[in-house]
């Protein structure tokens, strides 16, 4: 399956990543290759096979509405790249 530069730009936009011209070129080829490879699966006849979403035959797993201890702030923020007081700090959000 051949994908276009337009597709690459669209996917990059959805993922909020900026790509250089060279990268766009690179990913057009790489993603096309990957999709072509996966496309082999279409050669299988699945006419009599039901779609499978979940691989275990298990249903209805619930928890009770019971309180559990929250994380301490220092643990919650341990891996955060940036914080301010008790908040997580992120680049300015524009609507």
């Amino acid at each position: 399956m051949k994908i276009s530069k337009k597709d690459i730009r669209y996917v990059a936009h959805l993922s909020r990543i900026a790509l250089s011209d060279n990268e766009e070129e690179l990913f057009v080829h790489q993603l096309s290759d990957i999709l072509s490879y996966i496309e082999k699966l279409n050669q299988l006849n699945t006419d009599n096979v039901d779609p499978l979403v979940y691989t275990t035959n298990t249903f209805n797993v619930f928890r009770e509405d019971a309180l559990e201890k929250p994380l301490a702030i220092e643990d919650a923020q341990y891996c955060a790249p940036s914080t301010m007081g008790a908040f997580f700090k992120v680049p300015k959000v524009i609507e």
Partner: protein, 478 residues
């Protein structure tokens, strides 16, 4: 206007569970930032969500209350979008198998009942809260994840509404349903009930729908109405000029009272929904569903109609009572104790509501209990106290929570029904007011009212007013 306004509403309601949808963090409003978070709702690597059963059942309950079809199979899907209030970069929601579909809710506008169809009801997780610093030039935003993962119910109506009155009634009816079923506390100021409107216009008589505009950021019911009125006018002006309406999302600017473009259809989100592999699907059997259905109380609209037919209350009175489930329950408990619906309704809708409002209390927080109000009405009917005294006793009941009999005894408020005693007071008043007696004999009606008032004053309001009236007339009309 030559156009018909077509309106649909999306409602988001935070569910009244103690904990979040997929973890045991508290949902309590107003806590310090990031004190109600854990690895699950912060989306740390390797964590697994586990569904809160109560939240799921609340969602079932609302779908059932909205007369939706509830399939025996439902599952959850990932809705992908990147926004810093969403720690996983996707929201767990429902798309392919919504919990409830094709329901309806009846609303009433000026005495006419209209059925609004419900497209679907589904369960999802709430996002965190973004704080934009007020300092100018700040290049950052702050995130508080306390709300992230709170169970959120989404109710999507069909575009079946045509006027703002219908929208108002829909919002109120839905709100009351959520309160009656105790699914949500519906506190709009805390964001636990939110609306988004979609509006399109079409020439009257035309069937095809016009391009619809969605409006977000409607923080109160008042803004919903204002935004719809604004948007209908804006679209009508564009159409009148021969322009077309862009299918877009607009934000309501509550300060300038206008809607502003947020994004157009071309920039529309591509959510790439796919089934959430971390949550197992849910099978709903008949038994479970019927247990949930039987937990739905009589809903406000049905209750109002019953109050009118069963207790012969006016539509107005019945509406006042059903406005708040606790109030309606209070009333019904009173009526079970004493079959005087109208009198009890008056006490509740006038005195009780006024006192609650003055004290800024919820009905449930008032000290007076239904059995005590019943006793109060009973002792008035028996003639132990006058209705004037009863008002005074009622205030005392509100303040102290004491039984009315006790207050009457303690304060010596028992009504004087002793003919001799009242007679002697009357004689005193008559001899002290010769001018008024003359007026009365000349036919001045309010002279009698004045004299009755004097007798009541003399007896500190304790004389039986009916007896005062009769005895006074008897003495004057000789």
């Amino acid at each position: 206007m030559k156009y018909e306004v077509v309106i649909g509403l999306e409602t988001h309601s935070e569910l009244a569970t103690a904990t979040k949808l997929f973890c045991g963090c508290s949902t309590k409003f107003g806590a310090d930032p990031n004190t109600q978070v854990c690895p699950v709702c912060l989306a740390m690597p390797g964590v697994l969500p586990v569904m809160n059963k109560k939240a799921f059942e609340y969602a079932m309950k609302s779908a059932a209350a909205l007369c939706c079809k509830i399939d025996n199979y439902t599952n959850f899907d990932r809705k992908s979008y990147y926004y810093p209030d969403l720690p996983k970069n996707y929201q767990i929601s429902q798309n392919y198998h919504n919990l409830g579909v094709d329901g309806f809710m009846d609303i009433e506008v000026k005495g006419t009942v209209k059925r609004i169809r419900i497209h679907n009801v589904h369960l999802e997780e709430e996002a965190g809260k973004l704080i934009h610093p007020e300092e100018t030039g700040a290049d950052y935003s702050l995130v508080d994840f306390n709300r992230a993962g709170v169970p959120l119910l989404e109710i999507v109506s069909y575009p079946d509404m045509r006027t703002v009155d219908e929208v108002e009634s829909y919002m109120q009816t839905l709100r009351k349903m959520l309160l009656y079923t105790e699914i949500s506390d519906c506190k709009m100021q805390e964001g636990s009930l939110r609306f988004e409107a979609s509006i399109s216009l079409r020439l009257k008589g035309v069937e095809t729908l016009g391009n619809r505009v969605e409006i977000k950021n409607l923080n109160s019911m008042k803004f919903v109405i204002k935004a719809i009125e604004y948007e209908a006018t804006r679209q009508a002006e564009l159409l009148d000029r021969g322009e077309t309406i862009d299918r877009e999302t607009r934000l309501w600017d509550e300060i300038n009272e206008k809607s502003v473009r947020m994004r157009s259809k071309e920039e529309a989100q591509d959510y790439r929904y796919f089934p959430e592999p971390d949550l197992l699907p849910v099978l709903i059997d008949e038994k479970w569903l019927s247990t949930i259905k039987s937990s739905i109380p009589e809903l406000p609209f049905a209750r109002k109609q019953r109050f009118v037919s069963e207790f012969k209350l006016s539509d107005y009175d019945a509406n006042l009572l059903i406005e708040d489930k606790v109030l309606a329950d209070f009333f019904e408990e009173c009526v079970r104790g004493l079959n005087r619906p109208k009198i009890l309704c008056n006490w509740i809708t006038n005195d009780l509501l006024r006192e609650a409002k003055e004290r800024k209390l919820e009905i449930g927080q008032l000290k007076v209990k239904p059995a005590q109000l019943v006793s109060l009405v009973e002792i008035v009917e028996k003639g132990t106290i006058s209705s004037t005294t009863a008002k005074e006793v009622f205030i005392e009941m509100i303040q102290t929570g004491k039984d009315p009999q006790k207050i009457v005894e303690e304060k010596g408020l028992i009504q004087i029904s002793d003919e001799g005693l009242i007679g002697s007071v009357i004689d005193k008043i008559i001899s002290g007011n010769p001018g008024v007696i003359d007026d009365y004999k000349k036919g001045k009606k309010n002279a009698l009212t004045f004299l009755v008032g004097q007798v009541m004053k003399e007896t500190k309001g304790k004389a039986n007013p009916k007896m005062v009236n009769e005895l006074l007339k008897g003495k004057l009309d000789v």
